[in-house]
C-alpha cells in the first residue's frame, strides 16, 4: 500500500501540472497569424464552380410609394439569370430579429434610404450591376418622417408602418417603450428632498459597427431541394429561423455553415444578404454569391441607435443621490430589429451603477424613415452611460466635489438593488474600479522641449507646434448586462468528442458558435484541455448540424457556449471514468483526468486514455442554460431581468488644441472585473478593442443622416480610429468570481465600450470648460458652434 502511494505521488508530480494552454493560459488565436498575413479566408473569398453573383437594387429615397417595377430590360441583359421582386418569394415575405416587420424585398413602400427592392443574379458582378441599373422603378416620393417631433405626431406627419400592420406592442410611431419607477418615483415631494438638482439634454449620433469584412456569403442549392448557406453571421440558428419560412422550406433543409467573419460588433445579428442569396439560388438552381460593396454595407446593416436623452439628478448637499429622472428616445429607424431589447437595456441600465433611492425612467424607440438601428456593442447601455456620466460630472461640479469621490459615494456594490428591484448577487466592485483607475500613474506632461508632432492633436497634419494645447483628465464608470435578458432562454449547445487519433487522445469541440473575433475558438480548446486533461483539441466548423449556440453578442459567448463546452467535456470525462470503472472495477473516489491519463490522487496513474478508449469514441452533447430571468413590468420596470452585470471604469487623458478643436487622446486607462480571465491575453485585447470603439464614438464616428439620407457611406467619410488616434490603453483586470457563472467568469467585451466614451468627453470638458452634450465631439463643437 505504502509503496503504491509513493509511486502515485511521483507520477502525479508530472501529470497533475495543469496544461499551460488550459483555462487561465493565453494560447494564441489559431486564426491570428493568418489574419495578419492576409491569408485568412473570409466569407467574401468563397467560390464555387458555375456560381452566379447576386446584387440588389436599393431605393435612393427614404420614403416613397412604389408605383411600378419594370424588370423587363434587366432580364434582357446577356448573362442575367434571374431578376426577382417580392412577388417571386415562395413563402413568408417578412423577417425580423424580434418582430417580423421587415419585408425581404420592398412591397409597395419604401421606408428607408437603401431598402432593397429587387434582386439580380448574373454570371459576373459587372453584369449584375448593369442589370440592376436597368430595373425601372416608378416612385411617388414622400416627405420622410425623421425627427422625434415628426415621429411623435403621426396625425400630421404620417406613419412609418400603418398601425393596423403592427406586429407588436407598437403604437403611434413608437416601436417599443419601457417605463420604470422605483422608490417613490420622481414627484415634486421627492424633488423637494434634494438640496441640489442638475439636469441636462444629451445627444448621441448614429455609430456604425464598421466591421471591415463586408456582408457576404454563398448559397448552394442542394439535391434534396434544400439549401446550404456559407455565411458570416453572429447566430446561425436565428438566421435559419428567419430564412426557412421565406424560402418555404422546413428548417432542417436550410443548412448554415459559418464562413470567415470579418468583424461583427452587433452588425451581423440581423439578416443582410442571407435570404436574398438563397432566393436567387432557389430560383436559378445555381450557387449564388453576394458580396456587398462598402457603401452597400453601410445601407445593408443596422447601426447603433442615435439617442436624445433628458436627465435630471437630485442630491443632498453632501453628494448623496436622492433621485434620478430620465427620458431616453432612441431612433430605431424603419424596422424593429433589436429595438425592443435595446430599449429594455436603456431603461434598466440607464441610471448607471449607482444606488438611487427614487427613480423614474421612460425609454422609447421610434419608428422613423431613418436607417434601421439595432444591435451594436454596448446595446442601449452606451447611449445612457453618456447621459448619466455627464450628469455625475455636472453634479460634482455643482457640489464642488471630486467627480470620482461623488461616484464612489453613490456606487453600488454586492447586495444593493438595481432600480428594477433586482439584487446584485455577485461582486460589484464599482468603488474599487474607480479607485484603481484614479491611482494609476498619470502619463508625463507634454514635452514642449522636444516636440514630436505625431504626439499632438492633428499629428502629421502639422497643425500645432505646441500652440493651443491644453490637457484634460476625465473619469467614468459604466454598467452592462451579460447575456440575453427579460425572460429569454438563450441557451447554448456544445458537442465534445473524445477519441484516439494517431496514438493520442484527441478531443473535438463542435458548436454553432459564430467566431467573430471574440476568441471563442481559443477558449473552447482551453476549457476542454482543463476538463479532460488532453492537449490535442480540434474545433469543428460551426454549423447547424449541432444545436444552437445562441448569438455571439451581449458579451455572452464565453459564459454561455463556453459553459456548454464545460458541461459536455465534464460529461465526456465522467463517461470515460465510468467506462474505466466498468472495465477495471475501480472503486477510487478521487479519480481525475490529467496528461492524457486517468489518474487517482491517491493511487497514481490508473490507465492512459488511449488504452481505455481503444477504437471507441465518447461523443456527448450538452445544453447550457443560464438561470432564468423575468420580463420587466411594462409600467414599473420591475423584474429580475438580467443574467449578470459587468462593470468597467476608465480614466482618459487628452490633449486638446483649443483653438482648432482637435483632440488627441493621450491615454485611456481601463479597470474591469472579469470574474475569471479564461484567456488573459484575449481579455486585455477585448478591453482595449472596446475602449477604442468607444473612443471612436467620443470623437469621430457618426453616420451623417440628413432628411433620411445617409451622407457618408464610405470609410472616406465615416472615420474610425487609426493607430495614431489610439492611445496606450493600460488595463487593470480584477478577478472576483461570480458564483452563478461557469468558472466565475464575467462577460468582457462590452463593458469598456459602455464606460470609456464618457471618460473621454469628460477629459475634453476638463480641458476646454465646454458643456459638450453631444457625441461625437467634432472640431466645430469646440470652436465655432458649441451645441446646446
Amino acid at each position: 500500500m505504502a509503496t503504491r502511494t509513493i509511486q502515485g505521488q511521483k507520477n502525479l508530480q508530472n501529470i497533475n501540472q495543469a496544461s499551460k494552454d488550459g483555462i487561465g493560459g493565453s494560447p494564441l488565436r489559431p486564426d491570428g497569424n493568418l489574419k495578419v498575413r492576409g491569408e485568412f479566408a473570409y466569407s467574401s473569398d468563397l467560390w464555387h464552380e458555375d456560381m452566379l453573383w447576386g446584387m440588389a437594387l436599393r431605393s435612393p429615397h427614404p420614403r416613397a410609394n412604389i408605383l411600378s417595377v419594370d424588370i423587363s430590360e434587366a432580364l434582357k441583359v446577356p448573362g442575367v439569370y434571374a431578376v426577382l421582386t417580392h412577388e417571386d418569394i415562395p413563402g413568408s415575405k417578412y423577417y425580423g430579429l424580434e418582430i417580423r416587420d421587415q419585408p425581404v424585398l420592398a412591397i409597395d413602400k419604401i421606408r428607408y434610404h437603401g431598402e432593397a427592392i429587387a434582386l439580380v443574379a448574373a454570371d459576373h458582378p459587372e453584369t449584375a450591376r448593369r442589370a440592376v441599373k436597368k430595373i425601372k422603378v416608378e416612385y411617388e416620393v414622400l416627405t420622410p418622417i425623421v425627427t422625434e417631433e415628426q415621429c411623435l405626431d403621426p396625425e400630421t406627419h404620417g406613419y412609418v408602418h400603418e398601425p393596423h400592420e403592427y406586429k407588436s406592442h407598437a403604437y403611434g410611431n413608437i416601436c417599443h417603450e419601457q417605463k420604470l419607477v422605483s422608490g417613490l418615483g420622481v414627484t415634486d415631494e421627492v424633488r423637494a428632498m434634494a438640496d441640489v438638482i442638475v439636469s441636462g439634454d444629451y445627444e448621441v449620433g448614429m455609430q456604425d459597427q464598421a466591421f471591415l469584412g463586408p456582408e457576404s456569403g454563398l448559397a448552394v442549392p442542394a439535391e434534396d431541394g434544400g439549401i446550404d448557406l456559407y455565411i458570416a453571421t453572429q447566430w446561425l440558428h436565428v438566421d435559419r429561423e428567419q430564412m426557412a419560412p421565406v424560402l418555404d422550406l422546413p428548417e432542417e433543409k436550410v443548412r448554415l455553415t459559418l464562413a470567415g467573419v470579418g468583424g461583427a460588433f452587433g452588425g451581423r445579428e440581423d439578416i443582410s444578404m442571407q435570404i436574398h442569396a438563397c432566393l436567387l439560388a432557389q430560383h436559378t438552381d445555381k450557387p449564388v454569391k453576394i458580396v456587398y460593396s462598402r457603401d452597400e454595407s453601410f445601407y445593408g446593416h443596422v447601426h447603433r441607435h442615435p439617442a436624445r436623452m433628458h436627465y435630471e439628478h437630485g442630491a443632498t448637499r453632501d453628494g448623496k443621490l436622492v433621485f434620478a429622472d430620465c427620458r431616453i428616445v432612441l431612433d430605431g429607424g424603419a424596422y424593429a430589429s433589436a429595438s425592443p431589447a435595446v430599449v429594455g437595456n436603456a431603461a434598466s441600465l440607464g441610471h448607471g451603477p449607482y444606488v438611487i433611492p427614487n427613480v423614474k425612467m421612460h425609454a422609447i424607440a421610434l419608428y422613423s424613415n431613418n436607417p434601421s438601428c439595432g444591435a451594436m456593442r454596448g446595446f442601449g447601455a452606451v447611449q445612457a452611460a453618456f447621459g448619466y456620466e455627464s450628469q455625475m460630472d455636472k453634479l460634482a461640479a455643482e457640489l464642488g466635489m471630486d467627480p470620482v469621490e461623488l461616484r464612489q459615494l453613490n456606487a453600488m456594490s454586492e447586495g444593493d438593488f438595481m432600480p428594477t428591484g433586482q439584487q446584485i448577487d455577485s461582486p460589484a466592485p464599482v468603488v474599487e474600479l474607480l479607485q484603481r483607475a484614479k491611482d494609476m500613474p498619470l502619463p508625463p506632461p507634454l514635452d514642449t522641449e522636444h516636440l514630436d508632432v505625431r504626439a499632438l492633436p492633428g499629428a502629421l497634419s502639422n497643425t500645432s507646434h505646441g500652440e493651443g494645447i491644453v490637457r484634460g483628465v476625465g473619469y467614468s464608470v459604466g454598467i452592462k448586462n451579460v447575456g440575453f435578458s427579460e425572460g429569454f432562454d438563450d441557451y447554448s449547445t456544445a458537442r465534445v468528442r473524445l477519441e484516439v487519433i494517431g496514438g493520442e487522445p484527441v478531443a473535438m469541440v463542435h458548436t454553432a458558435m459564430a467566431e467573430v473575433g471574440q476568441g471563442g475558438v481559443t477558449v473552447h480548446a482551453q476549457i476542454v484541455r482543463t476538463e479532460l486533461g488532453v492537449e490535442q483539441v480540434t474545433i469543428h466548423p460551426a454549423n447547424t448540424e449541432v444545436g444552437s449556440a445562441g448569438s455571439t453578442s451581449a458579451s455572452r459567448q464565453t459564459y454561455m457556449t463556453g459553459g456548454a463546452v464545460k458541461l459536455a467535456a465534464e460529461a465526456v470525462g465522467r463517461a470515460l471514468i465510468e467506462k474505466g470503472r466498468r472495465r477495471y472495477g475501480w472503486t477510487h473516489q478521487d479519480i481525475t483526468l490529467a496528461g492524457g491519463k486517468v489518474v487517482s490522487e491517491s493511487a497514481g496513474v490508473l490507465v492512459p486514455m488511449v488504452d481505455l478508449l481503444g477504437d471507441e469514441a465518447i461523443d456527448l452533447t450538452r445544453e447550457h442554460h443560464h438561470r432564468p430571468t423575468q420580463a420587466f413590468d411594462k409600467e414599473t420596470g420591475q423584474g429580475f431581468g438580467h443574467v449578470q452585470y459587468t462593470f468597467c471604469a476608465n480614466r482618459a487623458v487628452v490633449d486638446v488644441d483649443v483653438e482648432l478643436g482637435l483632440v488627441k487622446v493621450v491615454e485611456l486607462t481601463a479597470v474591469q472585473d472579469v470574474g475569471k480571465a479564461l484567456n488573459p491575453l484575449s481579455v486585455v485585447g477585448q478591453i482595449q478593442g472596446g475602449c477604442t470603439q468607444a473612443l471612436g464614438l467620443a470623437v469621430m464616428e457618426e453616420i451623417i443622416v440628413r432628411d433620411g439620407k445617409v451622407r457618408n457611406a464610405s470609410f472616406t467619410d465615416y472615420l474610425i480610429p487609426t493607430i495614431l488616434d489610439t492611445p496606450p490603453i493600460p488595463v487593470d483586470v480584477l478577478e472576483l468570481p461570480d458564483p452563478h457563472a461557469p468558472y466565475g467568469l464575467r462577460g468582457v467585451g462590452e463593458a469598456p465600450t459602455v464606460s470609456a466614451t464618457p471618460s473621454i468627453v469628460a477629459a475634453i470638458r476638463n480641458a476646454t470648460g465646454l458643456a459638450l452634450n453631444r457625441i461625437p465631439v467634432r472640431p466645430e463643437h469646440l470652436t465655432t458652434e458649441q451645441p446646446g
Binding site: L460, S461, N462
Partner: protein
Amino acid sequence: MEFLRPATWDEALAAKAEYPTALPIAGGTDVMVELNFDVHRPSAILDLNRVTELTEWTNDGSVVRLGASVPYARIISELSGPLPGLALAAHTVGSPQIRNRGGVGGNLGAASPAGDSHPALLAAGRDVHVEAASVRGTRLIPIDEFYVGVKRNCLEADELIRAVHVPVADGPQQFSKIGTRNAMVIAVCAFGFALHPKNGTVGTGIGSAAPTPRRAVEAEEYLQGVLAERGLWESGELLGTEVVQRFGELVKAAASPIDDVRGTADYRRHALAVMARRTLTWCWNDYGKQIRSAA
C-alpha cells in the same frame, strides 16, 4: 471598357489623342476608388505605369521638374529639402500604402479642392507650372490658372500631365491640414504658406474651402507690403500680433467654403485663420533665425 497600356510617353500621347475620353491612371489611389464606388464608368482607361520617365524628377538648382507619377513617399524622402511645403503636404496624404502609389500628377488630374498638394503648390511661388502635353505639343500652365472648377482643370481632352515645375524653396515653407482624425483623413481644410525672400513675395494656398484650390491674394499682398515697408526682410524682426492677426483674417476672407459632412463653413473659415497665423509664425521665426545667424 478599353484598357490602354502605352510603353512610352509618345505612345501615351497618341493613345490620348485617339481616345480623348480615356481616363489616365497612375497610382490609382483616386481613380480606383471612384470606379469601385461606381462614380465613373470611363469608356477607356489609359494606364501610365509603363511610362517610367513619369516617376523621375530633376533639379537644376532653381527649379525641380517633378514627374507626374513620383509617389508621395519619394517626395518626402528625396525632396523635402528643395520642396519643403510639398513634402509636408505629402506627409498628410492617406496611409503609407497610398503614399507609395499616389503622386502629384493624379492630384492635379483629379483637381479636387481637397487634394493635399494644391495648397503647397500654390504657395510655392508664381513660377509653379504644370507641364501638359499632347500630340500637338507641350505647354506650361501657371498653377493659378490650372484649377477652373470643382474637380475640373484646364487640360484639353487630348492632354496629359507630364510633370510639374516647382521653384526650389528660397525660404521657409509650411503646410497645415485639418482632419477629424489624426491620420488618413481627407482635408476639412488646408493651408500652405511660403516665404520667398529672393523676390520679396509670400505664397499662400487654401485647400477644401472653395470650389477650387486658391491663393489668398489679398493676404499675400498685405503681408508683402508690411514686410517691404518695415524692412522686415532685411531685419528679420518679429512681425507683431497685429500683422499676424490681420493676415489670418485676410486668409479667412479669401475662402468661400460650404457646409458638408466633413465640416461647417464657419469652422473652415475659423481654422484657416488659425492655420494661417500659425504657419506664418513658424515660417517667420525660422526666417528670423536664418537672418540673425547669417548676421
